[in-house]
Structure formats: C-alpha cells, structure tokens
Symmetry: C2
Subunit: 430 residues, 2 copies
C-alpha cells in the first residue's frame, strides 16, 4: 500500500464503523427465561449493504448470432468446472446482482423477446437469495435496429410497452431497475443513429425520464427505480434538479465510476459524493471498474472508442488495483448515503476486454479479490464469536448491519441489525 | 483568408441574406401623388441586428480603490483624444452596449451603490440611440465581501433588493439584463467563497434562477431578461430544460464564446447553435472574444487562472484573428435565431490582458476592425443608392433589416424593414 492509501485506510476506519455498524444489545432467553452467564456464539449471516456485481456469466447461453455487449456468456456445459469456480468467488464477495436488459440484445427481432432465458437466469439468483437489478429500461445504446423504421410516436409507444412488459414479467424476481441510463447525453448522442436518441431529442430529456419512471412505476409500484449516469459533471446535477423540480419520483441516484483511465482518488470521489449527496436521495455506485493493466489514454472521451483485441493484466497493475479497489470501497462505505456498490464485471476480458476484473480471465483470483474478501468477509464481518451473557441474559457487541444467528446449547435464533447506533434485540432459544 | 474561410464565406452568403434581409417594395408619393419615374436615394441608417460590445471605457472614471474586473476605465480628462478615437471606432461598428453591474464593484460598501456614475454612463449611450444591457444581476464572481457576514436568508433578501433597485433605477435607460450569469457552476464554484454561491448551494439552481428572473421581471415587466452561461456542454442544456419545465420565463439565451484558447470553428459553432437553438428561444452571443496573439494553453479550465502581465498582439495573429472574427460573425448571422452578438472588449489589454480587441491597446485598428467594418458598414449595409421609381412610384431593393431614409428633391422620409421576405412600405415626401 502507498502511504496515501495507508492514510486513507486509517482515515476511513471510524467513519465506516459509524456509517455501517450498530451497537447491539441482544437479550437471550430460553423458553422465556433469561439465559444468564452462558456462552453463546454470534455469527453474521449477511450484509445489509449491497455489494453487487454483474451476473451475465451465469445466464443460460444465448441464441446464436445474438448481438452482445460483452463476450462473457459461457456455455455451462462446456465450462462447468471453470464456472463453478467463478460461482464460488462471486458468492464469496457479492449479495446483489445486475442482469442485462439491453433492448437491442433482448429483442433483436420485434416480438421475440429473450424473456425465457432471462427469467431462468433471474430465478437462479433469486433462488440463492440474491436481490436483482435489471439494467437498463431506457438507453440509447444497444438499441434494436427495427426502431429506426418507426415514427417518433411509435418509438415512444414501443418503449413504453417494452418497459411495461419487462417490469411486469419480472415483477416476482426483480425489484430494482435502472429506469433510464445516461439521459444527460441521450438527445445529443451522435455515435450511432437510434430510436431512443431520436425520441429524446424530439420530446426532451424530462419527458423521456418521466416516461421511463412513470411507466415502470405503473408496472411495479414497489420497485426501486434509479436515474443512472456516467456524467459526474454539473450536467448531471442540473438534470437531477430538473427531474426533482418536475416532480418525477426517483428512488436512488445511480453513479457510474468506470475508471479505465485511472482511479479517481479520494478527493474526486468525496467531491462527487458531496455534490450528488445533497439531493437527499440514496446513492448507488452502479458501475465501478478499476484496471489491473495499463490505463486507457486520457484523450479518449467515449470509452467505447478504445478498441483493442487484448488488454493484459500485469503483476504490478494487480498490486495497484488491489490498493485502489480497497480505497474506493472504503471511501464509499464511509458515506452513509451510499447504499450499494456494483463492481462491473468480476472477471477480466469483459467490456472493452479491460483487465478490470477482481479475478483474471481464467477466474484465478487477483490480489484485489483477496483484499475485498478480507474486508467483506473479514474486517467488515462478524465471524462466529463466542460471548458470555450477563446476569440479565444480555450480550453486547458492535456489528455490521445485516442478518445474524445466535447459537447456544445446540439451539439457534436469528435477528437483524438494520440501523446504526444503539439497537436492542431479543431472541428466544425455544 | 484560408481556403476554409473562403469556403465558409461562400457558404454563408445565401443563408445570411435569407436570414437578415427583406425584399422591399417602397411606394413613394409626394403630397399624396405617386412620384413616378424619378430618381430617389435610399440609404440605410441602422441595423436591426444587435452588433454589440462592452462600453466600460466610456463610463466616467470610478472611485479610487474600487475593485475592477478590467483595467479599461479611462479618465476622459487625461485621455480625451485617445478616447475620441475609440468612440469613433466604437460607433462605426456597434449599436448595442453592455455596461457593468458587478455587485462587488457596484456596491463595495453596503448602502453606497455606484448608481450615479452608471446612470451618467448609461445616459451617454442612450442619448446616442444605443440600447443598453446591464451585466449581470446575479453572479458568484466579483461579489461584495460584506455578503459573507450575512446569513443565507439575508443574502437572498439583499440580492433581491439589489436586483429591484438596479432594474428600477435604470428602467428608463436599460431594457435588457443578464438576469443570472453562469448558474451551471454557481453552486459548486470553489475558487472564492462568496455569498451567492452559498445562497445557490443552499436553495438550488432553480430557486436562484427563479429569484433573479422574477425579481427583475417584477421591477420591469417589459425588460428582456437573459439566462447567460459560458458552459456550452450538455450541462447548460439540462439546466435550460429544467428552467423551462419549472415555468420560469426566459426572454433569450445568452451564450458566451470567449475563445482565448482558439477559435471554435464553424463545426463547433453550428453544433452549439443546433443544440441551444432547439428550445425556441432567441439566442444572444453575449461575450465573444478571439485572440490576435498566442493562444492560452488548453490545460487551463478556468480562464481566470491564466495570469500574465503582458499578452502581446502579433502581426500574424492579427491576420488570423480577422479571418476568424469574420467567419464567426458569418456563421452566426446565417442562423436567424441569433439576435445579437456582443464582442467582449473592443480594445486590447482588457480582461486577462488578452489581445482580444478589434483595436490595439493604443486604439489603432487591427485588420479585424477593418474586416468587420467592411461587413457591418459594407457588404451587410445599403450605402446611399440612387434608384428610379417606376410608373406607380415604386422602387424595389433587397435591404438588410433596419432603418432607412429615402430622399428625393431635397425632401426625405424614413421607414424600417423589420421582417425578412417580401415587405411593402409607403412613404410620402411632404
């Protein structure tokens, strides 16, 4: 670790505890009577904080000839062993998944949506207790070409119908959606003609954002809907102020942080948190990536313009990445407004072939994986710990927000810590 | 002229005529009878298009110790001859003036505003038939330090009172105001602590913009109020969409174009016009500057950070500047949505000591001055022209929008052309 990182680590320790832990007092009874002066074991079972990643690799193999944003989908039959390794790694770190709903991939032929495959993939995660976010409902990139044959009004109706369909079809499995993605540049995006840019240009950003949010809200009134963007400039601030002034209900702000051109550093990250934190909305870091190879040259404005066939991970890069990933997560965890961080592509050779993974392309863990494990299942985790109850049957401990199990004499009970500060709980070992 | 400039010149000729001229038919009578088959002289007297510049140099000398944004104010007693030269040059090109109302200069001591001096300066221009814009009513730069001693609520009340006072006091002389300047960065401006950034941060951009517009509107319901910014990115688009969605009435968009780091070129200018033209609001290019010396290095983000004591004009730079100024004005005049262009500092050694003037620091004209004169009072101007009336007493000509005088037999009458396309007028030589 560099000196700065060490200092940052020091600096972040107390704010993180303040933002993420409770001082728990648990009163233990057995059949209604206080269990006084007995050893009990308390163990954390899950994190309340959403440590997320993409889960595209775990979807059933897609149709032949399908347009892909990444090359990550793997045939489980061919690569079962390798995938099992990734699965174990994935579930070691993560408890929240983002699944792909890029319209151009999802419905390349009008009327033939990829619903069955995605339902199977979503169910696989839901069966493992993982909350899911769908990404994205409205975006100008990876759009179906058939939109180009429609009038503006038809594009709007098709987009509304598609939002209603996806949110409705997945309502029992998916409770969180990027309602709209990158609306700041949506009407002026000029890299590829597409129906959504045409629509946004014609009706304006606010009408498009309202359409996405209100249609999704109508299909699932309880879903968490995000306004997601990569633009961390004043432009996104202005757009947020417009959206709030227009009375559009946003459940969380999605901030991307793809760092293909280098780690932001604490100063920029804190500035972003301060500027986007002042709207009183929960913040999700929706797309975080940090390189373990060379950096993309700074002159690239649109990251997609950097087209390489190979982008290797390096030994020195992996050490740097581990340091930076830790600093990034520590900085974000120290701010209570941040409710989720999604690491974009757990494995290398995903989007842009970037060495952004916490594991390599062969799924062997990088130092960044070990570093994150030592936080998420180490420093930020209560491993099974023996405590002795006092005369009133109480144990006291400082615990990370999440679910817990308390065991004594072969019996157990569960409880949750969901708020910071002093929290009292009572469990009965029946 | 470069080849590109020549091509641009060619390209712009027809659109400019289409956007800026009328096909006039003027029927001339003498004591009610058609003046048939007689020579008459038609001469343009003024432009409808607002060719503006700053007029800070023509204000009476300010108080000692006053904070200045530029070093342009000259004591007329000491520099009468030099100033007379500038005056002649100024009135050759311009018909619209911007006068300074920077609050920190205007009222450095609370309760002692510089009203009398500005009233004298504004009256001097009004007496010469020049419409005036006051700049700016609300901005975060050049603010009085005494605001820092006030609470947010007191700052808001002081700003409202100051807007009411200035707009009210100058209502008979000034009909146009930059109601708010640079609201995009206003709440996140971090170069100098000031009351307006504090206010904007506390209440948000939209509330601050509404405050400025509605207070000014209340003090002068007929004033033309501008939303002015240097930020030509999507940020300003988002802000404009927010302002329109919030129902704040904006009379014109003010787009700055300080080109200390190089001429934008036609492509960027047309892109800006297209993006900001789609809101259906008149566009004023409020602050245009083009260098005739070296360019400011591109790494400067805030132009004010480039601190030099000398920034010389050069011979080669002056030739380039003349070319670029012509291309800039031609590009803008060819778009009918543009209603005004203000050249920022007619003379060198103004803001940042930049060689931005159309005349040098000693007021000798540069090639750019001669080039602009050859447009504004040449190619874009109807010099006194003899025509012969037809049997019905009519003359026909294509004329630039503005005021005209028609003379025959020692008598004259005036008329105006205020719309493009075919326009019929009747004048009687009594």
């Amino acid at each position: 670790m560099t000196e700065i990182a060490a200092a940052a680590g020091q600096w972040a320790e107390e704010p993180i505890k303040k933002a993420r832990t409770a001082d728990a007092t648990v009163t233990v009874t057995a059949a209604g009577q206080p269990l006084a002066g007995k050893p009990v074991t308390v163990a954390q079972r899950s994190h309340a904080f959403l440590f997320g990643s993409t889960g595209f690799q775990f979807l059933p193999k897609g149709r032949e000839g399908e347009i892909r944003l990444t090359n990550l989908t793997i045939d489980p039959a061919e690569e079962a062993e390798k995938l099992a390794r990734l699965e174990e790694e994935w579930f070691t770190l993560f408890n929240f998944v983002t699944l792909p709903f890029y319209w151009g991939n999802f419905e390349p032929v009008r009327g033939k949506p990829d619903t069955a495959r995605l339902l199977a993939g979503a169910k696989w995660f839901a069966d493992r207790g993982i909350p899911i976010k769908g990404h994205p409902l409205c975006w100008h990139t990876v759009q179906p070409d058939w939109l180009l044959g429609l009038s503006i009004d038809e594009v709007r109706k098709a987009e509304e119908a598609r939002i209603r369909r996806e949110v409705g079809d997945f309502k029992h499995l998916i409770h969180s959606w990027d309602a709209i993605n990158e609306a700041v540049i949506m009407p002026v995006f000029d890299r590829k003609d597409n129906g959504i840019t045409r629509l946004c240009r014609a009706q304006g950003r606010l009408a498009t954002i309202r359409m996405a949010f209100e249609t999704a809200r109508g299909a699932d009134p309880t879903a968490c809907l995000l306004l997601n963007d990569f633009d961390m400039s004043t432009a996104f601030e202005c757009l947020i102020e417009a959206v709030l002034a227009a009375g559009i209900k946003v459940d969380a702000l999605g901030l991307q942080s793809h760092m293909h051109q280098g780690y932001w550093g604490e100063e920029k990250t804190l500035d972003v948190l301060e500027r986007f934190g002042r709207y009183g909305l929960p913040i999700h870091f929706t797309e975080s990536t940090i390189m373990s190879g060379h950096l993309m040259p700074p002159e690239y404005i649109d990251l997609n313009d950097y087209q390489v066939t190979e982008w290797p991970t390096t030994e020195v890069g992996e050490v740097r990445q581990a340091d930076e990933v830790v600093r990034h997560y520590k900085t974000l965890l120290s701010d209570p407004r941040v409710k989720a961080i999604t690491y974009w592509d757990m494995a290398d050779d995903g989007w842009l072939h970037a060495p952004a993974g916490l594991v390599r392309a062969d799924y062997t863990p990088k130092p960044s994986f070990e570093a994150m494990k030592s936080l998420i299942k180490g420093a930020w985790w209560l491993a099974p710990t023996e405590m002795v109850t006092d005369a009133a049957g109480r144990v006291r401990f400082n615990g990370w927000l999440g679910d817990y199990e308390l065991t004594a004499g072969g019996k157990s009970a569960t409880f949750s810590l969901d708020k910071t500060g002093a929290e009292a709980r009572a469990v009965d070992l029946a």
